[in-house]
Amino acid sequence: MNDSMDFLLWTRGTAFDVAIAIFIIGLIIRLFEIVSLGRERTLAEPKGSEFLPGVKTILTRTLPDGGTFKRQPLTVIAGYVFHVGLLITLLLFIPHIELFRETFGFGWPGLPNPIVDAAAVLGVVGLLAALWNRLTNPVMKMLSGGEDYLVWVLTFLPLLTGYLAYHRMINPYPLAMGLHLLSIELLLILFPFTKLMHTFTLFLARWYNGAMSGRRGVQS
Amino acid sequence: MSERIVIDPITRIEGHLRIEARMDGNRIGQAYSSGTMVRGIETILKGRDPRDAWAYAQRICGVCTLVHGIASIRAVEDALDYEIPKNAQLIRNLMIGAQYIHDHVMHFYHLHALDWVDVVSALNADPKATSELAESLSGWPQSSPGYFSDTKKKLANFVESGQLGIFSNGYWGHVQYKLPPEANLMAVAHYLEALAWQRDVVKLHTIFGGKNPHPNFLVGGVACPIDLNSDSAINAKRLSQVQEVITKMRQFVDQVYLPDTLAIASFYKDWFKRGEGLGNFLCYGDLPSTSMSDPSGFLFPAGVILDRDLSRVHEIDVHDKAQIQEYVAHSWYAYDAGKESGLHPYVGETNLEYTGPEPPFEHLVVEDPYSWIKSPRWREKAMEVGPLARVLMLYAKGHEPTRELAGAVLKQLELPIDALFSTLGRTAARTLESKLLADSMQGWYDDLVSNIKGGDTRTFNERSWEPSTWPNRCQGAGFTEAPRGALGHWIVIEDKKIANYQAIVPSTWNAGPRDASGQPGAYEAALQDEHTLADTAQPLEILRTIHSFDPCIACAVHLSDEAGDELVTIQVTQ
């Protein structure tokens, strides 16, 4: 691997295959590990259903409650900004959609690049703010361990390298693209074994929370 | 032991060719043709996307730079039963036609001419006499004494510089050069003009295919869309550029190429008596007026002529496993079923097995395998393919313009029809078909324009583009009449990938070695036909006959499996 083209081909080839395989295997293991633990049956006469409140909670938790927002605006805003930036760049950038189309057999319309570009900037700014927050907010600082910073780096690198590659700020381009891919591969490989799993498990978590509350007749 | 003459490299060809000739005195007894370079493209193609295949296959050869691309996309289209829009068919015809004319002219002036034209002798020419000669042959405007004087001065400057470059060490002054100095000067001028001309005419490829050499192709049609209101598509401006190219081609063929062929040939009539060889000719046919599935509309008809018998044209079917087979008895390949067997390309194999002498070597062992080229056969018979085969086929099938044109040429040279079965007959056939094609190009262009005019701008058929629409297994053959002759690609597609890929190219037919029964290939047979060498140290005669085939050796050589590599490794360590 002595030059950027070899590097790019490796990252587009072997490395990507390995990464996506680890990602998928890990993902399935993690989900099975969770679900296999089961839920105790509840015999108390329910006050409400589980299904709708569960679904509703999955959706409503996407919005912060007013009280928390007032007390921790930075956490909320930074979180939002980077998530939105990340999701737009990930899901609505045409080259990414082409990758999804190849993987899943279907795609969706994307956004013009300047908008995606702005989203990427938002993502970067949001992530930097989130890091600053993590380093300064006493609660987050106390909670955070090595994994939290690792996860931050794993999230930040694809965004950063993607941005640099798009703007040709790393040359030659095969190197830039290879670094971008490598960062994504690192992310994919470590994804199932870190907090990044929240991307998927949060749906489970919200569901359980909403369903358990729903039984008792409260919307959580 | 008889003298053995070796010419390696044969220059002014495409690729790497070696000729060894065993002499009977100063006459060639046995000739052996060897392709000395192998790459492995067929092996490389395995496992790849069939839609990508054309790009790999196209790099078989950069001279006939589009024929392998065309054959490849046709093979895939045949396998997928994939029709292409009419515009695409016409555009492909135009591209093929331009390729022919470009290639034939370049072959004549830049590869073949120096076998007949003594560049150094041109320095003795009188520009005024040259002008008179030129004007007597055609109305080509660049024929003034001043023009030829400039050419002569340029040439003189060049020779005086002491650096002869590509002209150094030519067989200048060889007794077999028979043109008068004026004809030589005129030919040198046209050598240079043709260089400029060819740069212009390849623009047709650039317009439709983005570049030349190696223009782009597309399974299912052509990549260039047509939109008269778009600057970035084939529009009126582009079409008029195409028309300019066609006009330029026709003018050059009519006013320079054809007259020059006749003029030069008239000094070398003895070369209409030797160099024939096999007497078997094969054409796949090409240049459809409607679709590749309708051979009746081909400009070049398909068929086989055996033993010079123009009264009977045999049918040919490229899919028929009993008709076309490749042998490796004298080639550096192994077959699973043994070296004596013959394989149809659908089940063809290419396992490298170099058993030749370890380089550096002086001679090949011609009793053993001696070439990287296989020996293709039609119903066990060796065949000649190429312009001569096509012209004979047209002639045999009663194509009127061909009969007229050939008749006129033969009449002017005072030669019988049999004269075509010869070294210069081959060269003349090339010129004749250039003229036929140049005229046809105007027709395709007019069709294209009227089709567009009629509102049809389709250039690509979306139907079978997505691999998800393909069957799990299919196979197909794509063929074309390349400038050098019948070209076929055979593809087997499994699981959306290439499972097997084989090409039998014109120069495989022509340049192939002997088969198991000792039947020589076309080059070999032609060299064994009445060739005496005036000077064995300057085998100009061999070059004339070999060049009359317009060898394209990178094309001719097929390639390997990893299994072959292992065999070779053993060989090397011995």
């Binding site: 083209m5 790019l8 081909l9 990507f16 295959d17 395989a21 998928i24 890990g26 399935i28 296999s36 633990l37 045409i94 080259p95 990414h96 082409e98 899943f104 956004l111 690049n113 030659p172 | 070796v6 490299p9 000395t36 370079m37 790459r39 492995g40 490389i44 839609r51 790099r59 950069g62 001279v63 060049f158 510089s161 002869l164 590509i166 060490n169 067989y171 400029a196 060819q198 740069r199 623009k203 490829h205 650039t206 983005g210 570049k211 030349n212 190696h214 782009n216 049609g221 990549a223 260039c224 869309p225 939109d227 598509a233 550029q241 490298l352 370890e358 380089p359 690509f460 990178a554 390639l559």
Partner: protein, 365 residues
């Protein structure tokens, strides 16, 4: 041989009746061809005036002659100008008059007469798998290259095969093909990649050597930066459409006809460094993207193995859907085991449960 007969380029041009103004024009064109800034023209004129025609030996190995064909399409300078005015092309299989022993003798003579000063141009890769894979006059390509390069001033690897191994080296590289740089390590090697290269890039490098007696500035792949400094994508006239998110989704759709970006159709422009987008092909007539086909990436190393030509650049090289389905199957297997272990752990914990009573609330340590 090197005697007074060899004239400078300035002499040669004046002999041919070229005025100073014509010479200036010639220099302007040459500067443009070499992709030099226009301000370089006076310096160029001074150098060109004194330039001599260097001897060039062109070796062809595992090639398709496309590179030579490309050279014949050169319009600035033309091949005939090149041969008559710029260089002495002393050995070239496709173009030279002599064959066989006479041809080899011409090569040997040029090497001897210009020892240390001639240029070697190579097209085609060199097979190392077996010397018999490619021979000329009974010699292997390796033997010829080593012998010829020994006395050369520099080597120019023309085309992606010579520069990077190209098509012969494509997976599984059946003949063990390597590039010129893999063999010639003790000389400057300029890579003029492309399949084939744009002719002006070939002549531009020759002109640079002719003019300055040196080689141009090279990139990480040994390619002249002047031509390979920016990517196709960055210089593509369709770039604004990429930025706006306007793409051709298939050949011959509205986007294709309007000249929108070909990224989705597999254009490799973003990773490809070459001058096609500005210099274009065949006297500026068009270039692949302008004619509706995506860039194949042919000037990049290993572009043959860089994923399908019709797959968007963002699509990995491998069979992604196959990888995912295999991984999913493997994942389900491993996950079932992991889930079983978890379940067992939990059942065991439940079995070991010892009823808590008020008597054992307090811990006695």
């Amino acid at each position: 041989m090197v005697d007074k007969k060899i004239k400078t380029l300035g002499d040669a041009l004046r002999r041919n009746g070229v005025s100073r103004r014509g010479f200036l024009k010639f220099c302007t064109a040459t500067a443009s061809m070499m992709a030099l800034p226009p301000a370089m023209v006076p310096a160029l004129a001074a150098s060109l005036d004194k330039a001599r025609r260097p001897s060039v030996i062109w070796l062809s190995f595992q090639e398709c002659t496309g590179c030579t064909e490309s050279l014949t399409r050169s319009h600035s300078p033309t091949l005939e100008n090149l041969i008559f005015d710029h260089i002495s092309l002393d050995y070239h299989h496709t173009l030279q008059a002599a064959s066989g022993h006479a041809a080899e003798a011409a090569r040997e003579e040029a090497m001897r007469a210009n020892e240390g000063n001639y240029l070697v141009v190579v097209d085609g890769a060199i097979p190392l798998g077996n010397p018999g894979y490619s021979t000329i006059a009974g010699f292997s390509n390796l033997q010829i290259l080593e012998e010829t390069a020994a006395g050369a001033a520099a080597v120019i690897a023309v085309g992606s095969c010579a520069a990077f191994g190209g098509l012969p080296k494509a997976d599984p590289n059946p003949t063990g093909a390597v590039s010129v740089r893999d063999i010639v390590t003790d000389k400057p090697v300029v890579n003029v990649s492309g399949c084939p290269p744009i002719p002006v890039v070939i002549t531009g490098v020759l002109a640079h050597f002719l003019t300055f007696g040196t080689l141009p500035e090279l990139d990480e792949y040994g390619r002249p930066k002047a031509f390979f400094g920016t990517s196709i994508h960055d210089r593509c006239y369709r770039r604004p459409f990429y930025d706006k998110g306007l793409f051709a989704n298939t050949f011959d759709d509205e986007g294709a006809r309007k000249g929108w970006c070909l990224y989705k159709l597999g254009c490799k422009g973003p990773m490809t460094y070459n001058a096609c987008a500005t210099v274009k092909w065949n006297e500026g007539t068009s270039w692949p993207v302008e004619s509706g086909h995506g860039c194949l990436g042919c000037s990049q190393p290993d572009f043959w193995d860089a994923g399908g030509f019709y797959n968007a650049l963002s699509i990995p090289v491998g069979d992604i859907s196959r990888t995912t389905s295999y991984a999913a199957a493997a994942g389900l297997g491993v996950a079932a085991v992991a889930a079983g272990i978890n379940h067992k752990t939990k059942v065991a914990a439940r079995k070991r449960h010892d009823r808590v009573t008020i008597d054992d609330l307090e811990k006695i340590s």
